[in-house]
């Protein structure tokens, strides 16, 4: 009786139009709270995520560039030997990285030296290239792809 008079009863046959008021109030509060909490959660997630990825990626590319520079200085790239390049690449490459190199030479036969690692699909892969001239006067471009293990 009391609830009927307050027009807040849910599912009352005699008062169908007004009977859902309480339910609508509750639903309104729940929806509002869910929306606000969702926005806060999403913004927290993105603030946390908008971190140092770009700078880390920059460092990854620089490590690859350093490795090719060293191989070039040491005359390893000049040999155009897959085994030689791969052995020395693994010697100087930091253990938490993997790298793939492709060397193409012009001014003679085109030679492709490709180390064998497979590209990962789930993380950042940095790319770069280094132009060098071999001691037999071949102009070559060494492309590299590097990623964190």
């Amino acid at each position: 009786m009391k609830m009927q008079l307050l027009n807040l009863r849910f599912g009352n046959k005699a008062n169908k139009c007004l009977g859902n008021k309480a339910f609508v109030f509750s639903l309104d509060i729940i929806v509002a709270v869910v929306v606000v909490v969702s926005i806060l959660a999403a913004s927290t997630f993105y603030v946390a995520k908008a971190g140092s990825e770009s700078v880390t990626n920059l460092h990854t590319v620089r490590v690859g560039s350093d490795v090719l520079a060293l191989l070039d200085h040491d005359g390893i790239l000049d040999t155009l030997s897959i085994e030689n390049i791969e052995i020395n690449l693994n010697r100087v490459l930091p253990i938490n990285y993997q790298m793939r190199t492709l060397v193409n030479c012009i001014g003679g036969d085109q030679i492709a030296v490709e180390t064998t690692d497979i590209f990962p699909q789930d993380r950042f892969v940095g790319n770069g290239k280094r132009v060098f001239v071999t001691n037999t006067s071949k102009y070559c471009i060494a492309d590299f792809s590097i990623w964190l293990k």
Binding site: L5, L6, L40, T44, S52, D66, V92
Partner: protein, 160 residues
């Protein structure tokens, strides 16, 4: 009687709404403050990272200004340790070691921070070290270089 009940309910509803709104406002303020702190820390860290990258690049890729500054180290404008790209000159390293820490820090433009620079063999053996060893928040970058015709690691740590 009925009107009294209605108004009592309306007041209760108001209180519930106020409580919920207050909780949300507190949550928003707390989250906002947390964002400000996180973003500030993030900016400081990113700035330190960028300075570290730029300083290491300068040291290992540039021969400095003037390029023969090691002959008269006190007149150096820009410190660089490379004889050529990523080949470290032993004489420039010796000249760097003889420079005072404050002078080097000012010359590199990182006087707001402290730094430690070292060259290591790829097996980890230290070849030289310069600066103040870190004891706080550190941004450290390792680069591969050639030093005395051997492969080496140049490590630069920035901290404050």
């Amino acid at each position: 009687m009925f009107r009294f009940k209605k108004s009592q309910l309306a007041v209760t509803d108001l209180f519930i709404a106020l409580v919920v709104a207050l909780i949300l406002i507190i949550l928003v303020v707390f989250t906002w403050n947390r964002y400000v702190i996180i973003l500030k820390e993030e900016n400081v860290y990113k700035e330190m990272q960028l300075i570290t990258f730029q300083t290491v690049d300068l040291l290992i890729k540039s021969s400095g200004e003037p390029s023969n500054w090691e002959l008269n180290p006190t007149n150096v404008d820009v410190i660089g340790l490379a004889s050529s790209d990523r080949k470290i000159s032993a004489s420039k390293v010796d000249a760097l070691i003889n420079l005072s820490y404050n002078f080097t820090s000012n010359s590199l433009g990182i006087s707001y921070y402290d730094f430690y620079f070292q060259l290591k063999h790829v097996n980890g053996t230290q070849l030289m070290g310069y600066g103040i060893a870190p004891n706080n928040t550190v941004v450290s970058v390792q680069r591969l270089v050639s030093y005395k015709n051997e492969d080496a690691i140049a490590e630069f740590a920035l901290w404050k």
